[in-house]
């Protein structure tokens, strides 16, 4: 019977392509919107990944990595003295203004790392050497958004807060939510690039000693210093949760996704129903010939599952392709498709297809085989 079901489905090319096209479009939009959401929210935490440290110690009231709540120099010493802490170094992150040779200004994310250990350095250097960061006026530029600084090369210079900065390296740094270029330099130099403040250090990066569970060390730091301490994942989620709570991103994309779901269900449901109506007399004939209602229900479910699977494949593939094309190279599309999103999209697709076919199923269950004798 399943062969008959499939032939009934695929033989009517127009309806079949409408159904598969409808499901593909729904999945495409679902995956695309969901991936944009994940991409945008994920970008809010990119500074955490761009710096990378096992433990982040911050002010207790810090809500997001983009806030600048200063710490005391003594806090660094106190963290170093906590049981289980292997090392702790200061970190400085601020927004700064770069004056370009053209005279224009460009906001950058300035990262000042510990000059002795270079902890917090960029994840991967594309050009130059990390050791050169200790040279006078040295900065390393993140490749993402680098064109906004005039795509500088090694040796190029510009001004930050009336001080000279010289590019000694290009780093592979992920694009973040604010989409400002990254400039890495040493802690000591970074504090000179921004207007003077009372508290300069705003993060302490640390690592646990071998044999100490990170959770235990985090708890020790919290208890001993009164500061907040997170592992890298915790710091990422602190930031992402902040943006999810305090921006319209989830609501806006949530509305889009809900609309996609509802419109998709309406279109697919209507097409399935039209398909069932059109085939009613054939279903009636099959019933008269001895096909049980449940066999016909099985046929309809199979048809909807097949449409769902093919539509899912095309839609998810299309969504991922758009993300790939839009996000690669200099592409600025915030796009991240976690496997969980694909699972949710799959379940949602199957749900849409099965719910949509319920109308047809109900019609087939109520169908009198005597319908076949109506001329």
């Amino acid at each position: 019977m399943w062969r008959i079901g499939l032939k009934m489905l695929m033989g009517d090319r127009a309806k079949y392509f409408t159904l598969v096209g409808g499901v593909s479009m729904v999945v495409f939009l679902f995956v695309q919107q969901g991936s944009v959401f994940c991409g945008l929210i994920g970008r809010t935490a990119k500074p955490v990944e761009a710096i990378g440290a096992p433990i982040w110690v911050v002010d207790r009231n810090l809500q997001v990595v983009d806030e600048f709540k200063g710490l005391l120099d003594t806090d660094l010493l106190r963290v170093r003295s906590v049981e289980g802490v292997k090392w702790a170094v200061p970190l400085f992150i601020r927004q700064a203004q770069v004056r370009l040779p053209s005279g224009k200004f460009q906001a950058v994310r300035l990262v000042g790392i510990d000059s002795a250990t270079l902890v917090g350095r960029p994840p991967r250097l594309l050009e130059g050497r990390i050791e050169d960061l200790n040279a006078p006026d040295a900065v390393i530029v993140g490749r993402a958004e680098m064109e906004r600084l005039g795509s500088p090369k090694i040796g190029d210079t510009f001004e930050i807060n009336d001080r000279r900065a010289r590019v000694v390296g290009i780093a592979d740094v992920p694009r973040d939510f604010l989409s400002n270029p990254y400039l890495y330099t040493t802690f000591e130099r970074a504090v000179q690039y921004v207007p003077r403040e009372r508290k300069l250090m705003n993060y302490i990066l640390a690592a646990p000693k071998e044999g100490y569970p990170i959770e235990q060390v985090l708890e020790n730091i919290r208890r001993t210093t009164g500061l907040a301490a997170y592992d890298e994942d915790g710091m990422r989620w602190l930031t992402m949760n902040y943006y999810m709570r305090n921006t319209g991103i989830p609501v806006n994309i949530g509305i889009s996704v809900t609309l996609v779901f509802l419109v998709g269900m309406a279109i697919i449901g209507q097409t399935f129903y039209a398909f069932a109506l059109q085939n009613e007399k054939y279903f009636g004939a099959l019933k008269a010939m001895g096909a049980s209602s449940w066999k016909l229900v099985g046929m309809i479910v199979l048809q909807s599952v097949i449409v769902g699977l093919i539509g899912y494949g095309i839609g998810a593939g299309g969504g991922a392709l758009v993300g790939y094309l839009g996000g690669r190279g200099a592409g600025k599309l915030a796009f991240y498709t976690p496997y969980q999103l694909l699972i949710i999209a799959f379940v949602a697709t199957m749900l849409i297809c099965v719910l949509s076919s319920l109308l047809s199923i109900q019609r087939v269950l109520r169908l009198e085989p005597a319908i076949v004798f109506r001329g």
Binding site: K7, D12, Y282, K287, F373, G375
Partner: protein, 250 residues
Amino acid sequence: MAKATAIAPADKHQPVTTAPAVFLRQVNKSFGVGNTYLPVLKDINLEIRRGELLLLVGPSGCGKTTLLSVMAGILDADDGIVDVFGTRVDRLSQAQKTRFRQQTIGFIFQQFNLIPTLTATENVAVPLIINGYPYREALERARHYLDLVGLGNRLDHFPTQLSGGQQQRVAIARALVAEPRLVVCDEPTAALDGTTGQMVMEMFRKVALSSERAIVVVTHDNRIFPYGDRIAEMLDGRIVSVHDNPNHIR
């Protein structure tokens, strides 16, 4: 009667069953609309013999199709006995009726009801597939039946690629492929022109009739009356006469 010649030589040592193929006694059927019940079949008594083609005729709305549906186990009679080849259809559950239709009844419809996305072979194979036959085997047998109705050269044609007469021949092959003992036909020639209708009936009689099968044809088309062994006339829900066909083509 011609049916005597239809007994296959291999059957000659088998005991002869004289029980009617279809036995209806005091069958009533009404349809309810709100609190009103409209009687459609009234005290129907009818016997259809094995090996005969019975024409069921009468004006529109007299209950012919309802009677056909009751015989085929598609509609339930309100009361009375409905016995088809020894099976008390009126006592079967819905699931048993479904199984009964699979195994015992072949259908030919006025509008053919061939599934447009299936080829002629696949359409004919449908009853076998419903019966649980392996797909390839069902197709093989379907091809044989299409050969029998003279469509061996149209096996892979879709219904839209066939003429009305050819489509009805496909429908006949489909009705016979599972070798049902009772074939019910509702206005089988209504959608065909006169000549084609007669050709189809001629072929149908030749292919379908056998000593162990009965055929009931509901029709308005008096051009096919000669193809019936007997004619049952209905009027206002009752069978008013059953008589041998004086113009029968033998």
